[in-house]
Amino acid sequence: MVNKIEHAQLKETLYQEKLPNGLNVFVVPKQGFQKTYAIFTTRYGAIDHDFQPPGKQRIRVPDGIAHFLEHKMFEQRSGEDVFQQFALQGAAANAYTSFTRTAYLYSCTENVEKNLTTLLDFVQEPYFTDENVEKEKGIIAQEIRMYDDTPDWRLYFGLIQAFYQQHPVKIDIAGTVESIYEITKEHLYQCYETFYHPSNMVLVIVGSVQPEQIIQLVAENQAKKNFTNQAEIKRFFEQEPDQVRTRRNDVQLAVGVPKCMFGFKERASFVGQKGDDFLRQELSTFLFLEYLFGQGSDFYQSLYDDGLIDEQFGYDYSLEDGFAFSMAGGDSSDPERLLARVEKEVPGFVQRGLDQTTFDRLRKKRIGSTLRLLNSPEWIANQYTRYQFAGTDLFRMIPLLEELTVDQVNERMREHVDFEQFATSVIKPSAQVSKE
């Protein structure tokens, strides 16, 4: 049965149905939009490298396999990759792998239903051969090389590797050029069979659609396929101590400007919240990060005027099942001075805390920015999926922001900003350009 939930203030309506095979389907119709965006996501990402498929032996798979599998899903029995089919139907298709999810998606302005069928069918019909697995290795090796040459990625990953001693979040999502060469089609089928069962997946469709009709189409498509009920997947993660692995991670690269990123690793006791608690923790963390490092903060402006940061400076908070951290940074002409000022001045800001006026201002900003993001079907669909996996609902965001208090944010800031949990990643310039 289709459930319908209206969010009157946002003028958005959500339609939801859980199908008999376990697939959870969500539809958000968007009036006046040309496009429809659909995203089919499995709760399976780069960190899931050690698991026990229902009724089988526990296995440990090579690094980068979730991402490799994502690449190979586009291969079809016909020998033609599914991009060809999407193109004929006027869709732009894509996929991505994160630490915790693998997502397949398309957007289109015509043939919405045909494209949806194509999406469901290609993700549910794997076709791996020794040959097509081998062929992908050169392509993914170039993808890894591209990231090796991308300083922002190296900076970001450098910080994660400073934080984590054991947890697989420290492993690069794409793996390494060496690890991907160990991958075989048997590995891919094992991972596929374990994690691509409909009960481990979510489908979200946002755009110019008739919700009941489109859910009906999905239900009929799924009813034709023989999925047997799947027991729980057991996933194993290395025990992660609270302590950071190292305070500091330095790399030299061919950059014009040094880069610096720093942040705080969340202690285990603040990881693993579900539902509204998850969303509340995330929202309150973002609010105090804005207070500390946002463009409207005195600290940001003073760092900027001293030339220690530039307009690309930003911050973020990642809260996932099993790990969480904050990070702030960007280009810096002098990472050492920047870090010295952070360590010296941030404790004072934390000590003083946000006052009511500041809190109200930052909350207004957050509410307005969230409305802006709701203009984007892509954002809604991706975030809806993410919050669904965290046991909460994207559309709870504005009501929860309105309920939040200054005391909750200050308390959150004091539990998170602990220099015992602090680490940094720095990129320094190396070689010079030479021309022939």
Binding site: Q31, K35, R361, N375
Partner: protein, 431 residues
Amino acid sequence: MTDIHFSTTSVGSARLHVLNSKKFKTTTVVVLFEQELSEEKVTQSALLPNVLQRGTQSYPTTVQVKQKCDQLYGANLFGDVFKRGGRHFLQFGLDVANGDYLSERPALLTEGLQFLQEVLFKPVTSNDGFSSSFVNAEKKNLRQRIESLKDDKIRYAAQRLNEEMYKGEPHALYNYGQLRSLDAIDERSLYTYYQEVIQSCPIDIYCVGDVHPEEVKALFETQLGAHIGRQERPSVEALRNDQKVEQVNEIVERLEVQQGKLNLGCRTHVTIEDDLYPALMMYNGILGGFAHSKLFMNVREKASLAYYCSSRIDSYLGQVAIQSGIEIANYDQAVSIMKEQLEEMRQGNISEQEISQTKATLTNQIRERLDSAYGLIDFAHHTQQPTRKREVEQLLQEIADVTPQQIQEVAQQVELDTIYFLRDQGGIDGE
């Protein structure tokens, strides 16, 4: 299609384009100043938007400016520059929440426009100049922005290709200007430049949201009318470049990199002004615009040489640029596969499937842009630039009508001009 056509009126000597659309939860305003693209002006143009966002007479510190944005429910104030058609555009804008979605129901557009008006026309000044501390800090920021271009190797390689291909011409200029011009700029010279921009550059104002065109016009008149004035603002002449290729230019540059960046620049001799423009869009789509295109299929899928390999058009220059990231040792093989694809296009070896796929995906790409306020504004601005105007429906129809002969006609005009390769430091004397 509804909700895509702007109605154009004027505010003083500026053009005002308004689009009423209920599908967005924010209202977007963009103000564009059209300036010439020249070595003399490019760096000043790049610096100006940042200096203006630093403070106004009522909000004299940057913290006050940013906090004002926060108070306006996270109004997004922005300023930037971009190149288009041999011109340089200074872009200012504001995106504010529509108060109907907020429990307080604030009138954010009115307040937001007043604020934008201050940012544009009431900067902090002293002694016939801008604030020197703002200018100095923004020079430092811009210097860092220019120096960090090479940190993003994909963008760096694209810029280097243009520098080589359009050597000595304004098209070669980097959007954010050049380091050597930066030192000469000070708070007074930039203020003089600012006066020139606001008094004589042509202005286009775009507004998209759930707004009434007449009310918005009155609002803009009140806020901006007097500042804009009625003086004529002569249009900047577009620069063209249509020279024939005499010899393919091959450039190798070395940097400490893992992956080689291979970029090829072609002259097509077709621009947005021409009848053949939709055929050029089809040409590019079949060659490298999509995941079904020849470059993706042959360089990546068949030869496994690259993760990305695509092409794109500069509609005004008539340039098609190919970009890819490859293993350094595979340079010769990659260049030869890319040249083969250009040759296939020239020979007209294009299947019916490639044509129908490209028509479908190109059409989709254009329609999808209409779902964002910035996409709508961008499209409207594109149609406004050339003397030859094509509204969305007309462009889509022309794409649908493109024949294989027309695509081949474009292909036969395409000339490879420059091959640019960014590679590692090793193996100087060859592999």
